[in-house]
Amino acid sequence: MLQYAVKRTLWMVPTFFLISLVVFALINLAPGNPGQAGGLENVGSGAAVQSKSVIIFKRQFNLDKPVLVNTRFAMTRGDVRGLVATANALGSTPTPAQRIAAKNDLEDGGQYLVRHLVALLDDADPAMAQLAAQYLTSAASLALVSETAGDPDAARLENRRREAFNQSFTGWACPGELAATPCLTDARRHWQGWWTEHHAAYEYTPAESAWVFLTDTRFAKYWYNLVHLDFGISAIDREPVLAKVLRKLKYSISLSLTAILLAYLVAVPVGVYSAVKSGSRSDTVLTVVLFLLYSLPTFFTGTVLLRLFSQGTPFAWFPVGRFETLPQDPTTLGWLVDVAWHLVLPVCTSASVALAALSRYARTGVIDVIRADYIRTARAKGLEEPVVILKHAVRNGMIPILTLLGGILPVLVSGSVVIEVVFTIPGMGSFLVESITSRDYNSVMAVLLASAVLTLVGILISDLSYALVDPRINLD
C-alpha cells in the first residue's frame, strides 16, 4: 500500500511535467499575446518608439524566446539578411503576414542576430547596411533584470551597468532617410571597434549551442522559475500571480467547499431513501426531480433563484450577489453570518447539479448492497429494518460516492465561471476566463497548473481510498 502510494506520487512528477508542457504550448500557440492587452500591438504608425517598447515588454515576459526549442544560434547571415529585406520590403514584395513575421523575428532575435548584423554593415547594398545599423542597437541591447527577486542592491547595480552599456551605442543607429553615407561610415567604425571588444559573447561553441537549444526557451525559463516557486507576474497589472491567485482562492474555496458539503449532506439521505423505496412512486418522483435539476444549466438555476428570492418577486430574503457586504466593523461572527447570508443562493445553485449526480450514485450503491447476501443474513437474524439499512447497507453502499470526493478537489481551485459571474463573486473561475481573454499567460498557467496538481492528488486519493475502505481491492 505504502509502496503503491509512493510510486504513484513519484509518477505524478512526469505527468505534471507533461500536463504543463501541453497546456503551456497550447496557450502560447493560440493567436494573440499579452502585448495586445498591454496596448502594445496594432497601434499602427508608431514605428521606432513603439517597437522599442514592444521589445522591452517581450523580454520582460520572455516572449521574445521560442516556445519549446531554440535554434537561433544556427541562423546564417543569409537568413538575417532575408529577414531584414522582408521586414522592410527591400527588393521584394512580401505579403503583410510575411513582413510582420520577419519584423517579429528581428525583434525577438536579440543577441543571436548581433554577429550577422555586424557583418551586414558591410553589405553591398547601403540600404541594407543602414538597416543593419538600426537593428543592431536593439539586438545588442541588454534587458534589465528584475529588482524584486534576489538581492535588490546587486540587481540595481547590474541594471545601471546594463543601461550604461545600452546607452553606449544608441547614438550609432543612423536613423532617418536611407543611405546617409557619412553617418553609415561612422556607424561602421563604431560597431567594428565595439565588435572587436565584445565578439566573444556572441559566438557559440557546439556545447553552448546545445545548451541554448534547450534552455533559452519560454518553456525552460518558465520551468526554471517554477522550480524556484516563482509563478511570475501578471502581464496586465504586473502583480505577482501567486498573490492574486491566493486572494481569489478565498472566494472559490468557500463557495465550492460549502456547495460540496451541502450536496453530500442532501444527496446521501435522498439516495438512501430512493434506494430503499426503489421502484415506488416517491422514488419515481425523486428521480424525475433530480434529473430535472441535473439538466438545468447553472446560469438558469441561478437566475431563477435570484429572481424568486432576492428581487422581491415574491421574496427579497437574500442579496442579489457578492460575497460579503463588508460592514464597517466586522466581528468574526458577524462576518461569518454575513458571508453565509450571501452564499445561500450561489451554494444552492452550485449544489443542485452535484446533488443530482451524487444521489444517483448513492442510490445505486445502496441498491447493489441491499441485494447482497449479508443484508439478507442481517434481516434473517431479526435486526430491525432501520438498523439493517443504516448500519449494514449504507456504510458499504457509500463507498463509491466517498471516492468521488477526490475527483471534486480541482473544482475547489478552478471555481465555477458561471456561478461567479451570475452572483458577482470575484473568484478563480472568472479570473481564469479574463486571463485567457487577455492572454495573461502567467495567470492562466498558475490556475491551470494548480488544478492539474489537485486533479492528480484527487485521483490518487480516490484510488487509495478505494483500497482503504474496500478490502476487496488490493493495490500491491
Binding site: V23, N33, A97, I236, D237, I436
Partner: protein, 644 residues
C-alpha cells in the same frame, strides 16, 4: 504501470479539454468587450476626455447655457484675444435644480488593471473612471466639443508660425492627498501638500516617451512621439514645441494630462528611482492600484473585484462653476449584464447601461420595466460607427461597383431594427453623424437586390455554369464569387446578421461564409491583411484626421489601421490638406468631399452608428449626455432628490 500511463495521458487530455472549453467560454464575451478593445487599442479617441468639473456644497445659480467664470484671473485671461480658451458655459440641457450630496451607485463591466493614468493598461471603461479624478489643461464642453474653457490653465496661445504653444497654469491648484495613512511614518514624506507645477506636464511627456513604460503610454506614444521635451518657463508657464503646424496639434496639447512627479518618481519609502530604470518602475509602481489627480473626486478605496470608491475632493479648484454633484461615488464591478438590472431593481444601483439584446428582450416597449414605477429610460448616441471592410487587394473586391453591389444587398435598416433593437442609425460615411464633417445630404444606399444584381452584371459577373453562383475569369481562371466574412465571435447579433446577409447574397448569386473569430484572432487577420471581408467598428475622434485610416501610405504598412488597403490619390490629397487646414468652413468642405469620395468608392459598407440605452431611477435628473466617449460622463449626472 500501463494503467498509470493511461491515467497520466487521460489527465493530460482532460487538461487539454479544459483549456479548449475555457477558450470557448472566453469567447462568450460579447461585442461590448470587442468595442472596448477597439477603443483601447485601435483608434485613439482623439480629444475625447476633457477635464472634470465639480465639487463643493454651496449651490450656485447655474443655469443651462449660462456662463460661469472661476476667478478674476480667468476673466482677465479670457479677455486676451490670443487665448484659445473660451468661457465656460453650462450645457444647454443642464437640469433646473440639483440636490447635491449623497452617494451615487453605479456599475462598471470590467475592473481596471490599475489607476495610473499613463502606466496602467487603459481601456474605454477606465477612461470614464479617470474623468472623476483628473483635470486637464482645458475643460472640453461635453455637449459642444469645440469649446474648451479654462481648467488647469487660464490661457493657451499658439505662436504665429504654429510651432509653439504656450500654456499658463492656474495658481493655487493642489494635487489630491494620496490615499494612504499619512500618520504611518513610512508615508510621512507624503504629508506636505503639493501644488500643480509646469514640470508635472514635462514629467507626463517624459513618461509617455520612455519606452520602458507600457500600458496606456504605449498607445499615447504614437501621438506624442515627435514632441520635443517641454520647456518649463516657470512654475506656472510651460511651452510645447512641435515639428509641424498641424490641425491635430492643439487637440493633442489638450490631451496631455499632468502627472505628479513628486509621487511617481519615488518608491514607497520616498527614495527616488534610478535614472536607468525609473520608467520600468512605473509599470509596478506601489501607488498604481490607487488613483491621484486634480479632479472633482478623490480616490478613496478599491476593493478588488467588488468596487471602487471616490469621494468629493476637498481641494478641488473649480468648485464654483462645476461642483461635484455627489459626496461619494461607488463604482461596483459587475461583469454579468443580468446583474446590472437585478442590482438596479433592488436599488443597489442608481442607474445602469443596458445591452441591446437585453433591451430588446426585456425593456423595449415594456416600460415601466418589470412593473417598477419610477424607472426611466434614456437613449443616447454613441460616437462610433460599425462597418464591413472589403479587402481591396483581393481581385473579388477591387471593383467599386462590386463593393457597391455588396452594400446594396445588405439590409442595414432592417437589421438595425430587428437585430439591434432599433438602437442605431444607418450611416453612410466615416464620421460621427453629429460631427459637422458628416455630410447628411449623402443618403445611405438602399436595400435593393435588383440594383445589386445589375451592378454585378456590369462588373462582368455572370452565372455561366448555372450553379447559382456568379463567376468570372480572373487572371485566366474561372473564379466563382465566394468569400469569407470574419465576424465577432460569440456575438449572437453578428451571427444573425451574417445569416441574413448570406441569404440576401445568395439571391444575387454570391456565396458568403461567415467565420466567427475571437478578438485576438481577428486582430491578427486584419493586421496581416489576411481576410476577404470583416466586421469592424471605429470610434472617430471629434477633430478629424484621416491619415491613420485612409491614407495610401498606411495601406502599405502592415499592422497599420488601413486594413482594407484603401488607395486614392484624391483621398490622400484631402487627408493631407485636412491636416493643414484650420478654417472650420474649409475643413467641413474637405470632409464633405471625402465623405462623397468614400460613399462612391465604398471601401467599407458603412453599417450603423449605435445608440445606447440607460435605465435610471427618477430620483436622478434626466441625464445630460456627452457627445464624445465616455457618454455617460458622471459629472453630468445629478440627483433631483437625494435618495435615502
Amino acid at each position: 504501470m500501463k494503467r498509470l500511463l493511461q491515467s497520466g495521458f487521460g489527465v493530460a487530455l482532460l487538461a487539454l479539454l479544459v483549456v479548449v472549453g475555457l477558450i470557448n467560454t472566453a469567447q462568450l464575451h460579447n461585442l461590448e468587450s470587442h468595442v472596448a478593445a477597439l477603443e483601447a487599442g485601435g483608434l485613439r479617441v482623439a480629444g475625447t476626455p476633457a477635464a472634470p468639473p465639480a465639487a463643493a456644497t454651496g449651490s450656485v445659480g447655474e443655469k443651462a447655457g449660462e456662463i460661469c467664470t472661476l476667478s478674476a484671473a480667468d476673466e482677465e485671461a479670457l479677455n486676451d484675444p490670443a487665448n484659445l480658451l473660451v468661457p465656460f458655459r453650462y450645457p444647454e440641457n443642464w437640469p433646473a435644480s440639483i440636490a447635491r450630496g449623497g452617494t451615487l451607485k453605479r456599475q462598471i463591466a470590467s475592473e481596471p488593471p490599475g489607476l495610473n493614468l499613463i502606466a496602467s493598461n487603459n481601456s474605454a471603461d477606465i477612461s470614464e473612471l479617470y474623468k472623476y479624478i483628473t483635470s486637464r489643461i482645458g475643460y472640453q464642453d461635453p455637449t459642444n466639443p469645440d469649446a474648451i474653457s479654462p481648467d488647469l490653465a487660464l490661457k493657451v496661445t499658439k505662436s504665429e508660425d504654429g510651432l509653439t504653444y504656450d500654456v499658463w497654469l492656474r495658481k493655487g491648484v493642489v494635487w489630491q492627498t494620496p490615499a494612504v495613512d499619512l500618520n504611518d511614518p513610512r508615508h510621512a514624506w507624503l504629508q506636505a501638500p503639493h501644488p500643480l507645477v509646469a514640470s508635472d506636464f514635462a514629467f507626463a511627456l517624459e513618461l509617455i516617451q520612455n519606452p520602458q513604460v507600457v500600458g496606456r503610454a504605449a498607445s499615447l506614444r504614437t501621438y506624442f512621439e515627435a514632441w520635443k521635451p517641454i520647456e518649463v518657463v516657470d512654475d506656472h508657464h510651460f511651452r510645447i514645441r512641435v515639428a509641424e503646424d498641424l490641425y491635430t496639434n492643439l487637440p493633442q496639447v489638450f490631451d496631455l494630462e499632468p502627472m505628479p512627479r513628486w509621487l511617481y518618481r519615488f518608491d514607497e519609502d520616498g527614495h527616488p528611482f534610478d535614472d536607468a530604470t525609473w520608467g520600468d518602475k512605473q509599470n509596478t509602481h506601489w501607488y498604481n492600484q490607487k488613483g491621484i489627480g486634480l479632479g472633482a473626486y478623490r480616490f478613496v478605496e478599491w476593493q478588488e473585484g467588488v468596487r471602487l470608491t471616490f469621494e468629493r475632493n476637498p481641494t478641488y479648484h473649480a468648485t464654483k462653476c462645476m461642483p461635484a454633484n455627489f459626496d461619494r461615488v461607488e463604482i461596483n464591478v459587475m461583469k454579468d449584464q443580468q446583474a446590472w438590472l437585478r442590482n438596479l431593481k433592488t436599488h443597489q444601483l442608481d442607474y445602469t447601461q443596458i445591452m441591446p439584446q437585453q433591451f430588446n428582450a426585456e425593456i423595449r416597449g415594456k416600460l415601466p420595466y418589470l412593473g417598477e414605477e419610477g424607472l426611466k429610460l434614456a437613449i443616447h448616441d454613441e460616437a462610433s460607427y460599425y462597418y464591413i471592410g472589403w479587402n481591396a487587394t483581393r481581385p473579388l473586391f477591387a471593383d467599386k461597383r462590386v463593393r457597391k453591389a455588396l452594400t446594396l444587398a445588405f439590409d442595414r435598416a432592417g437589421l438595425v431594427e430587428s437585430v439591434f433593437a432599433g438602437l442605431g442609425e444607418v450611416t453612410s460615411g466615416p464620421f460621427d453623424q453629429r460631427n459637422p464633417c458628416y455630410d447628411a445630404s449623402i443618403a445611405p444606399l438602399p436595400y435593393d437586390l435588383e440594383a445589386a444584381k445589375a451592378l454585378l452584371l456590369e462588373a462582368g459577373w455572370k452565372d455561366t455554369d448555372g450553379d447559382g453562383v456568379l463567376d468570372q475569369v480572373i487572371n485566366g481562371k474561372r473564379t466563382p464569387f465566394e468569400f469569407t466574412l470574419v465576424i465577432y465571435g460569440g456575438s449572437t447579433e453578428y451571427e444573425t446578421l451574417a445569416r441574413v446577409y448570406r441569404e440576401a447574397l445568395l439571391e444575387i448569386g454570391v456565396k458568403m461564409t461567415a467565420q466567427p473569430l475571437e478578438w485576438a484572432a481577428q486582430l491578427k487577420k486584419t493586421a496581416e491583411r489576411d481576410f476577404d471581408a470583416y466586421t469592424g467598428a471605429w470610434v472617430p475622434g471629434w477633430e478629424i484626421d484621416l491619415h491613420q485610416l485612409w491614407h495610401s501610405s498606411q495601406a502599405d504598412k502592415p499592422e497599420s489601421s488601413n486594413y482594407v488597403s484603401f488607395r486614392s490619390p484624391e483621398g490622400d490629397r484631402i487627408a493631407e490638406a485636412l491636416r493643414r487646414e484650420f478654417d472650420p468652413e474649409k475643413r467641413t468642405a474637405l470632409c464633405h468631399a471625402f465623405h462623397k469620395l468614400i460613399a462612391d468608392e465604398q471601401p467599407y459598407t458603412f453599417f450603423y452608428q449605435r445608440k445606447r440605452p440607460m435605465l435610471y431611477w427618477d430620483h436622478m435628473n434626466d441625464p445630460v449626455f456627452a457627445k464624445l466617449n465616455p457618454h455617460r460622463d458622471a459629472r453630468l449626472l445629478s440627483f433631483a432628490t437625494r435618495p435615502e
